[in-house]
Symmetry: D2
């Protein structure tokens, strides 16, 4: 099958029967909802750019399973070059959208599961890896978007999942059947899930034996019966319903997050990738987190590029572009932004092969990358706030 | 006359005939408007606390003009103790409102004008100081709130007021009459003006002879004919119209800013405090800015106290209060917040008498104080963002 | 008795029979030793400036015991103004010496003991306060320099004094006699002790009952039998013996620290100020530390003034004084330095009376002050290192 | 020819007839001088490790000219892998010596000259590139150490070389002969020159036509007649003459810098690589600086590894290893150190081919790398200073 165009992607979302809620009521048509639309536009760019000749090399690659051309977002990294290209693709998309384009979480989850299922099978003689490859090929063949779902609601951070006052604070298996399992629980602030075809669920922390029912990983369509998406508020969300772009911020692109409830949802066996092997929960978390920390060294840098450009433009509009303190701040923003990029590139260049053959980043450097992202975005904002105008 | 109660203050605002605009149309009843109301509540606390025995010492003092009891917000500082009490009063109000309470700008403007008019008169033989004292006594006697209006819209920062493409980018005198002047222009983002009785206008930068018409300072009632207030947007402003407190942030208190247009407004002679003596424009700006930089060492610290408490409470709710990295961050927030307070106290303790007899802060230390406020608020936010939860 | 002149101070040191060691052998004449001399010069300035009319107000005050004129370094603070004047005196001396002038530790120890002995007596009916006042008057009358000795060698930081493998790692009472006690142990890096007449020993941490023998405070002459001073190395110490000022750094003034061994030293009863009341060890430490943290908000700021001036001079010599990034760094150094001063002033202005009537700083703000000192000195150095010259 | 062993390297230095001065007199035997020896030991490690099987892959490579095995320090980078291996080799040596090992400057200078001479020849039809390759092959064949000499003494930073009051403040050609040129001037603080066989001189800034005589680059033996090395002081240099390791810091390894005077030194034509083509002075500086900024992302990280280990050991010795604030600081030091490594790796991974075919780092990222090195070393020191012990 071929890559989807942006339009085909949009049409594919219309066909989903998602159960989306916002402001206390069901959203009948999420695709055209003015508040949700910018997030769809943002994700759609991952399809649009893959069709543009100038970005094809970065946006697409060959499937190591089928040899077919696929969107890099559905790829399993086969080399350190792949890892670096991932980061460069993310920087490009950050520059195009100045927003979250949401398709990274699933890519990172796929890469975490691909290598971990291989190692579970080695230890337990299970066949999760084959199951996962089948799911992956389906995603690649159909150019689907996958939401990676990790963060549970957690409750008391000092307690394990099974110790919580409410047993459903972490997602768990509540029924085991011949043909699959029934899961109950909730994954918090799921980035881009209402623009995704599949949701790939993972545990959120390392676990011990008592948490066996919580040690579950699987993938199912986002419109599976029992999945309910409650859209989270964003600071100026309703402005998009007021008409016009004034005061809207980024009115074309945006991100979206949903509290995702699994209300006794059935998962068939062939979509289960971890089921009780609690000692591998930590590995999934660590690898997903590692890949996602790497991601920040790309996407946030792209958004940073836009912010720096916008700042330079604002300085020019105000006749302040030649002031030495303004130039210094722009230079410092560039310095911080490129330091983040160094993290993304370095953890990729220092990557290595997993037992499954796929490539993983250097976990320490990926963590360093993410720490700096968290620190430096705030620093850049701080620079903007300490303008002379703000000094009264 | 006595101090106003909170209710009397609210009633006094109802009697004003303000020309307020929001979302493109006139707001008929700003006092009860759900979006504007929290800002009124916030300013009202400056009246409410002045009536409470436990805060009376801090909130009120004796007028150096009449000897009567007045609200400290209408006071001219007579000692370094007065300057320190100002900061402590602001910290208290920050703690009570966790928001901007808007009455500082006028207090700082009054103190800047009081001392500067004295020095203008010494040089030019004018009688601005007596005029200003008369205005001040009126404010003290009636316990009024004054908005201090400084920031012009500016246009090209590299050009002087008279060099701008549009001569009205800085507020200026467009007509000179026997009994006063007519002014035209605009003051940007005027904090609390829709909750104020009077507006005290000042120049926004040091000026030279060619900017003589822009060297104008005066005070007039906020509902003077020709004054139009256009409310600025705040990130979640319309949520206050949705009902309920969920997702509203601080739903009781808040700040407000208005683009304030002076559409050929007449100012009578006895309310003019600078009129063409351009060489004193810089002194007004410097003194106002100095007093206002000091203010930040109080109000932001009070708001910081609330943020630290809220953070500690959130940690407790999540079962994370004993985690060493969480405690470290709370300690760091306290450290940063108290460093700001040190700035507010130190520039006050190192204050000195002006030629008029009133007291002024140490301008260098006040500037240091404000720089740290601008830096450290961002730092505290950065600490909150670098929680382990945020590190994926 | 009158204040000593600088020469009288120097002569008084010659009369001491100190047991000083350096490079493994006894220093017969520490006063004229080329390595030690700069530290004496530095402390001597506290006497020299007290004789200069322009500094008399800051350097001297009236004894609250005798009413006589005394050097402020021997004073017990009687008001927040006294506390602020202490900081200003320290800034002045930092500017004069660009080094440690060593007389603060004793001043801070005196103020800690004065107020704490009063409270011990209130609880236990002891007469430490009177004893201490007698000692203090002797110091004031003779214009002596006191070394405050706190830091024990400590060993395993995770263990209490009595739990250490070697019982002498913390200074302790090894014999109790009718007329006094015999103490054994060691105080590490004692600033200025070889330029001091008396040493005032304090515990170094809060203690419990098992550490009773370690809960001891007293003052004795620095040349008491059994006290041995081993001079600590400083990075370029021997350069002062090479002749000339080139490559010597600050060749006129400097600091000095000595490992001070108490080799079974007898302390007479009238010089003992704490003896087993272990529950007050923490109060002494906290108050001494508080006063000393305040001190840093003065002395380091004075040294900072010299560094900033030297940096500006170096920029000028190199033809770089007008470069915007050089000016920015100088401004930033001023900003950091004045923030430290804010800490020193603010903890003083917010001081309060102790039960004994003497004044103590605000302990929280003093801690904030010291934290910033530790952080910002490094920051200033960092600014110097990031010059373009250093960027290859 | 084969790689030199450590001993052979040492012997080769004994054969040099260097004119070295220290403390105002000639050092007859620099190889065995106790102050200079640690720096020789440090550089010697670059030879020693190249002989050890476990480090051979990193320390040696194949010459792209002869195909022979060479020490990587004499290599011209042929790929991004080469660039990354350079950084990893430097981190290894930093870990081994905890000091500067001095051989990087020449490596970086070689790589700058190799590519730049190619481009000069393209523009001007000169034959510098062949000359340089000949010199390079000689260095590779004999496994020599080259000192890269750039920094002139400069005088007034606001003036060009030819505008200085003293025409010799920048090194220049004072005589032009048939067979070569005579140069006069001085290169400041030349790292490792007394442990080097050859010195490769480069201009220090971009130049214009009037500075033509200053646009000179060449390589000559370090014991060429007229070259005088005046050893710079280091803070504790003479301690190494006191006997024992106590208080010596790093007593085995170290760095060294010499003010290097060129007192009318003759340079033969075949060793001249730039001679008046002033428009290429900037390219040499930029490329050398870029390579050297990359170097810091390796060597300083290795030294950082030692500092972190030493800090952890000190904490353990003091019984403080489990204190959460101590662990936090160690983690932060690791974070900062690995961020520097990210810079070194990233600018290498993003490298590209020059016109000559050799590889060059990404210049922007190399600059970012060096900026962070300069900032973070100070930060790490700051962490060490803010221990609780330091907080009185």
């Amino acid at each position: 099958m071929a890559l989807m165009t942006g339009e085909q992607y949009e049409e594919s979302l219309r066909k989903l029967n998602l159960e989306v809620y916002m402001f206390g009521k069901r959203v009948e048509n999420p695709v055209d909802d003015p508040i949700l639309r910018p997030s769809l536009n943002s994700l759609k760019e991952t399809y649009v750019l893959a069709q543009m000749p100038e970005y094809k090399d970065l946006m697409t690659t060959k499937s190591h399973i089928t040899g077919n051309e696929i969107n890099r977002f559905t790829h399993i990294h086969q080399s350190t070059t792949d890892l670096m290209n991932k980061v460069k693709m993310q920087r490009l998309l950050g520059q195009r959208t100045a927003a979250c384009f949401q398709r990274c979480v699933g890519m990172d989850a796929n890469n975490a599961l691909y290598s971990t299922t291989f190692e579970i099978d080695q230890k337990y003689g299970t066949n999760y890896h084959e199951r996962f490859k089948k799911f992956l090929q389906y995603v690649q063949d159909n150019d689907l978007t996958v939401d990676g779902a990790m963060t549970d609601t957690k409750g008391d951070r000092g307690k394990a999942p099974h110790e919580q006052a409410d047993p459903d604070l972490y997602l768990r298996v509540v029924e085991r059947r011949e043909d699959g399992v029934v899961v109950r629980g909730c994954k918090a602030h799921q980035t881009g899930i209402c623009n995704s075809h599949e949701v790939l669920v993972m545990p959120t922390i390392a676990m011990k034996e008592d948490d066996k029912d919580y040690a579950i990983s699987f993938a199912i369509p986002t419109d599976t019966k029992g999945i309910k998406l409650i859209i989270g508020r964003q600071s100026c969300d309703t402005r998009k319903t007021e008409g016009g772009c004034l005061d809207c911020g980024n009115c074309t692109y945006g991100g979206v997050e949903a509290l995702t409830i699994f209300d006794d949802v059935f998962v068939p066996n062939d979509r289960i990738f971890l089921n009780g092997e609690y000692d591998f929960a930590g590995m999934i978390v660590e690898r997903f987190a590692g890949f996602h920390r790497q991601s920040y060294g790309g996407c946030k840098v792209g958004v940073g590029d836009v912010l720096i450009g916008a700042t330079a433009l604002a300085a020019e509009y105000n006749g302040a572009a030649k002031a030495s303190h303004v130039k210094d701040k722009l230079i410092e923003m560039v310095h911080l932004n490129e330091t983040l990029f160094c993290g993304g590139i370095a953890c990729s260049a220092q990557g290595s092969a997993t037992k499954s053959g796929s490539y993983i980043i250097d976990l320490l450097l990926a963590n360093v990358c993410k720490q700096n992202v968290t620190r430096f975005l705030t620093k850049s904002e701080g620079l903007l706030r300490t303008s002379p105008e703000a000094s009264w």
